[in-house]
């Protein structure tokens, strides 16, 4: 089936025409890579937040920091692997492994009485571990299977660079929108503070 859909497992050459099935497989891989890049880079910026979540999940204080860094590394490696070798074994195993880890963390969150902050996409979100991570497992597995089945094992360097560029744009564009919204809000706060000063002095 895999061979029928994506041809054989030979690396995609620079000159070959990409069919709709392969395009879909590569799009799925690109989207999955963007999600993992977002999560991994946000966790890399504030690894302490991820370590804190791991401690709440029962990981010992000694191992929480290394485990957090390992999780970040795995997320980023799998993301880059999806961009360079979308149908490769590392990408497939990595996505399934991460999806399973997230689902197990969600399961632990459901079984605990207290709410465990997720920190899945960095410290700026209030999500908690629970059913969302469990429900996402089929999506992770589905994405891994689709990329494995329809995307080529490896793609040419030029296309991999283009994929990295597209993934970068995918994660950076919404973030710039968030930044602008926060800027406008902060500007409003600053104006309000300026106007409050006379009141506070009196």
């Amino acid at each position: 089936m895999r061979g029928a859909a994506a041809g054989d497992r030979r690396p995609s050459s620079a000159g070959h025409v990409i069919g709709p099935v392969e395009s879909l497989g590569r799009t799925v891989a690109l989207g999955t890579a963007a999600v993992l890049l977002w999560a991994g880079l946000e966790k890399a910026r504030t690894p302490g937040s991820t370590a804190s979540t791991l401690r709440e999940l029962g990981v010992s204080h000694r191992w929480a920091d290394p485990a957090a860094l390992s999780l970040v590394a795995v997320e980023l490696v799998v993301a880059l692997s999806l961009l360079v070798r979308p149908g490769g074994t590392v990408s497939f195993v990595g996505v399934v492994l991460l999806g399973t880890i997230f689902a197990l963390a969600g399961l632990a969150g459901v079984r605990r009485d207290e709410r465990i902050r997720c920190g899945c996409f960095g410290p700026g979100h209030d999500h908690v571990l629970g059913w969302t991570q469990i429900a996402a497992l089929p999506l992770w597995i589905g994405a891994a299977v689709l990329a494995r089945t329809w995307a080529p094992d490896a793609i040419p360097a030029a296309e991999a660079a283009l994929s990295l560029c597209a993934a970068g744009m995918l994660v950076a564009t919404p973030r710039v929108g968030i930044l602008l919204r926060e800027f406008v809000r902060a500007r409003g706060d600053r104006i309000s503070s300026d106007r409050m000063r006379p009141w506070l002095r009196s």
Partner: protein
């Protein structure tokens, strides 16, 4: 070369993502600090005393307010800095249910203030009044500006200082009305 540059653009986009995330977090930290310091939109309640539940026209305010379901009467002064900021933020027009009373020492000072912020009494449905000589403010006993008086069902119910345009926007009443989906029943016609 093209592949390298493309990858570099992707790398820079990811760097932008990380750095903008840090800036977003910084903005949120500053907001937390401002909230803790209590310097964001902190209004102060004004003790109304005998003015509470009185009809607005008793103090020289427009009689139309006596029949208003809900309104805010904002007192501005030509001498107060926050009042200038509020007037500037109105951008030459008054939101519905907002009445503005401008306190000024003289008609000239009032005209200069209104002209500065494109506020024209004729284009505000009579909801902009100039209180030259501060006659209305004195009859209410008001010596602070900017202050907003809430009028509900033709009575003055409460008053608060108005520290910012954002706060002013938040206190202007927005009535919620029913939106019946069915037409009202028609009266039956009787055969004569």
């Amino acid at each position: 070369m093209v592949a390298f540059l493309t990858a570099a653009v992707g790398g820079l986009a990811l760097l932008l993502f990380v750095l903008s995330g840090a800036v977003v977090e910084l903005y949120r930290d500053v907001r937390q600090l401002r909230e803790v310091a209590g310097i964001l939109d902190r209004p102060l309640d004004v003790d109304l005393g005998e003015v509470e539940n009185a009809r607005p026209s008793r103090f020289g305010l427009p009689e139309a307010l006596d029949s208003a379901a809900s309104a805010i009467v904002l007192f501005l002064s030509a001498r107060c800095g926050t009042c200038h900021a509020l007037a500037s933020g109105l951008e030459g027009r008054l939101p519905n249910r907002l009445w503005v009373i401008l306190e000024a020492r003289s008609p000239d000072a009032a005209a200069e203030f209104l002209e500065s912020y494109d506020l024209i009494p004729g284009s505000t449905d009579g909801r902009l009044l100039v209180d030259a000589g501060e006659r209305i403010a004195k009859s209410i006993g008001l010596d602070t500006t900017p202050v907003g008086f809430r009028v509900v069902n033709g009575r003055i119910t409460s008053a608060t200082t108005v520290p910012s345009l954002r706060y002013l926007t938040s206190i202007i009443p927005e009535p919620v009305s029913l939106n019946p989906r069915t037409s009202p029943p028609q009266p039956e016609r009787r055969a004569s």
